[in-house]
């Protein structure tokens, strides 16, 4: 499968990344190479084979619905680039 510029730019947009021209060229080339290599899996017969989603057999792990105070707000906010009155601060989203 041949990958074009538009596809790479669309993917970058979905991933919230901006690519410079030389990066676009570079990533397009890398993506092409890696996907060409990855094509090898299409030669594996997977008729009647299920998907492996996780490695161990754990399924729907439940715990008691009890309240634990793990982290306090102040401590969590210490890493925030911008905060105000105990909340994360972002630019206005609704006019």
């Amino acid at each position: 499968m041949q990958i074009n510029d538009e596809e790479v730019l669309h993917i970058a947009k979905l991933a919230r990344l901006k690519l410079k021209d030389d990066e676009l060229e570079n990533y397009k080339k890398n993506l092409q190479e890696i996907l060409d290599f990855a094509d090898t899996i299409n030669h594996v017969n997977t008729d009647n084979i299920g998907e492996t989603i996780g490695i161990n057999e754990n399924y729907n792990v439940f715990r008691k619905d009890e309240i634990h105070q793990e982290n306090n707000r102040e401590e969590l906010l210490k890493n925030a680039p911008s905060q105000d009155e105990g909340m994360f601060r972002i630019p206005k989203v609704i006019n």
Partner: protein, 489 residues
């Protein structure tokens, strides 16, 4: 002999006999770090003051006649993707350059409960994506055996620091070989435990269905001691498994009599360096001479496993790294007029090129139109690979392969060729795909004096057989007695 040259089990003995103090050990390692860090550059953060303080507190306590716990006062180094409360956890990324975790990872909690002393946080490829530690945002780490070579990766700082005697042992993480490959390239012992044996809580996630934390140590005995500490079910990691606690030091016996070892012919074929191949065949001979039954077998899944790995790992990474948005923690751009620009510019400026490459690949294989062809197909092939291993383990107790197809390569040699770099993971990746335990142990050195490691893989949760076989081999070849890194240029 300097204290930093001893293994942990030797240090424990000396501490028990009161021949030495924790401060003496800690000072010895800090002195060694001062001597060697300019050449090796294994660390991101060195916690000298808190290490000294903790050591002297422990020594005071012992002076008062109180009992010392087994590992109390033993230093350790930590890969910088393990969350440590109060000390920066950077993942060697600009994105987390100033991040201080508000909580400890479960493994950190466990080593703190043992009253071990952290010497600092160790360098890695950014977000554990890479096999050379060249993709660290801060600086590359150098291989103590030859400073112009890479230490491997992504736990390159951890493996190099152990090899250089800058820490007595370290914790790393392994998603596709990130513990075993640098251990092999640096001539130390590294174990990736079975998926689910060690809690991943507080390990900054790369690919959640593949990631596992494990010990990197000077010898096999130390490895068993450290694994004993970090295993166990954790409510905070729903993929961690409830099992009875095993004492892995009980497996440190010199006996491989009757053990059945499979030697897959595909892993001694094309693409494997001649000297690595010879080291592997020599290892097989040694096991036979010790009473094991080594038999050639077939495991023709290397390339498929690598393809599956790069699809699944990148898909999971693109999802896991979605959390870095410049809002709650991590790097935030200065250039924005609206929320969307915060997301885009923070991520564009905060992530390095390899991380972006993998996010793009991961987003691609998960995007509509390609999901079935790549991601879903990869998950099915993952089942095929698991079944292949299962088939082999009906016949064999262990599978023996090289850890890495080559010895350590030169810094800069592969960093511009992602696919070449990915191919270097061909021996280790299949083990993560199947969730199996795998250990790299040093076998010998090549004609240039660079270490060659071999890999032992066992059934799920059968680390005991790995320890038994690794210990027996180690006692026979005595790698550490024969070879030491020379720090040559």
């Amino acid at each position: 002999m300097e204290l930093y040259e001893f293994t942990v089990h030797e240090l424990i003995e000396k501490l028990d006999k009161k021949e030495i103090t924790s401060s003496q050990i800690t000072e010895s390692y800090l002195k060694r770090i001062k001597e060697k860090e300019k050449d090796v550059q294994a660390f991101v953060t060195i916690t000298e003051d808190s290490a000294k303080e903790k050591a002297s507190e422990i020594d005071e306590k012992i002076k008062r006649g109180e009992k010392r716990e087994k590992l109390e006062g033993i230093p350790i180094g930590l890969k910088d993707n393990l969350c440590t409360k109060g000390v920066k956890t950077t993942c060697s990324s600009k994105m987390l350059e100033n991040f201080v975790s508000p909580y400890d990872a479960t493994v950190i909690k466990k080593i703190n409960e043992e009253k071990m002393i952290s010497l600092g946080k160790l360098n890695m490829d950014e977000f554990a994506m890479g096999g050379s530690t060249e993709y660290s945002y801060f600086h590359p780490t150098h291989n103590p055996w030859n400073l112009n070579r890479v230490p491997g990766g992504s736990s390159g700082g951890s493996a190099a620091a152990v090899a250089a005697n800058m820490v007595p042992w370290a914790l790393g993480s392994d998603t596709g070989g990130s513990i075993r490959q640098p251990s092999s390239l640096c001539g130390v012992v590294g174990l990736k435990p079975t998926y689910g044996l060690v809690s991943r809580y507080g390990l900054v996630a790369f690919a959640s269905s593949l990631d596992q934390i494990g010990p990197i140590t000077k010898d096999v005995e130390d490895n068993a001691i450290l694994l004993n500490i970090i295993t166990g079910h954790d409510e905070k990691d729903t993929t961690s498994v409830k099992r009875e606690k095993v004492d892995y030091t009980k497996s440190l016996v010199k006996d491989v009599n009757g053990l059945k070892i499979g030697l897959p012919k595909e892993f001694i074929g094309d693409g494997i360096d001649e000297e690595v191949k010879n080291a592997l065949l020599e290892t097989a001979k040694i096991y036979e001479s010790l009473g094991a039954k080594v038999e050639e077998c077939s495991l023709d899944i290397g390339k498929q496993a690598l393809a599956v790995y790069y699809i699944i790992a990148c898909a999971e990474a693109s999802s896991n790294l979605g959390r870095f948005d410049g809002i709650r923690y991590g790097y935030r751009t200065e250039k924005f007029d609206n929320l969307r620009e915060i997301y885009i510019n923070s991520r564009t400026e905060g992530f390095g090129p390899e991380v972006k490459r993998r996010i793009i690949l991961g987003t691609y294989v998960l995007s509509s139109g390609y999901y079935d062809a790549y991601y879903k197909k990869a998950q099915k092939v993952r089942t095929v690979i698991r079944n292949e291993y299962q088939r082999l383990f009906e016949k064999y107790d262990l599978i023996l392969t090289p850890t890495s197809p080559t010895v350590a390569f030169g810094i800069g040699e592969k960093s511009n060729n992602p696919l070449q770099m990915y191919l270097a993971d061909i021996c280790t990746v299949p083990v993560n795909i199947a969730g199996l335990p795998g250990m790299s142990i040093p076998a010998t050195v090549n004609s240039e004096g660079m270490p060659i490691g071999i890999q032992l893989v066992a059934k799920h949760f059968d680390e005991e057989t790995i320890f038994r076989a690794a210990y027996t081999f180690e006692q026979k070849v005595k790698f550490r007695e024969k070879y030491q890194p020379k720090f040559k240029n």
